[in-house]
Symmetry: C2
Amino acid sequence: MASKKNEDMYRCDCNVIHEEVIEKVGEHMPEDDTLMDLADAFKVFSDSTRLKILCALLQEEMCVCDISSLLGMSKSAVSHQLRTLKQTNLVKNRRSGKEVYYSIADKHVETIINNGMEHVLE
Amino acid sequence: MASKKNEDMYRCDCNVIHEEVIEKVGEHMPEDDTLMDLADAFKVFSDSTRLKILCALLQEEMCVCDISSLLGMSKSAVSHQLRTLKQTNLVKNRRSGKEVYYSIADKHVETIINNGMEHVLE
DNA sequence: ACTACAGTTGAACAATAATTCAACTGTTTG
DNA sequence: CAAACAGTTGAATTATTGTTCAACTGTAGT
């Protein structure tokens, strides 16, 4: 006879082995929405093109042409990625004549990259 | 007459606007390989299922069944993600009888997640 | 007003990745 | 040794994402 306690609580294809652990851990888990947001945040940093752009902008404000030249990529490809970076508030831009200059908008960018770098370089 | 300086240095569909900036920034950029590795590292954290697993394991060692129950996902799906996490050395496992217990293997996991969380929660 | 250039945008295409499904390994128990 | 269960694996499917391409906007110069 099966335990009735968690009948419909956790649906999956297995018998719960350690209910106490599951309940205890479950209580201290971050909200689902929070973890989705966190995943999305990391997703922005998970593309080497975007990382290159961020590393470049950490040094100096640059226009799209400059970035394209530096990375050896089309303006279109760069612009698409800049759009992503701007939508996530990591960079900001200003127009000066024909050019649009991008720069870092969030102080966490450097920390997050350095932190990840530390993890990679060992 | 075009400048001869950077003739074949940067190929892209635009005229280089600020050569000095590009050269200066270019000198201080991390290696391409390094940035690829960094992107791959962030990629692991960019999925909410994997984040959930890591958050759970940060609290306590758990077997696959426990994790499946906690997340409401199939053992197969969880096992696939655990494989990714193990290949990137973020978790380790040990067998005890029929069960396989997973736990955090890298001290950076907590730092990286907390760091990202700080960025998300504001 | 016309031309040239910086940049943006949306659709199409190609590549990557997460989940499902079914078959499999390994361990315990009767 | 046979049955039952924990977990793994590979192939197939589905979803997501990065880049290209072509057309477009906006600004400067003539």
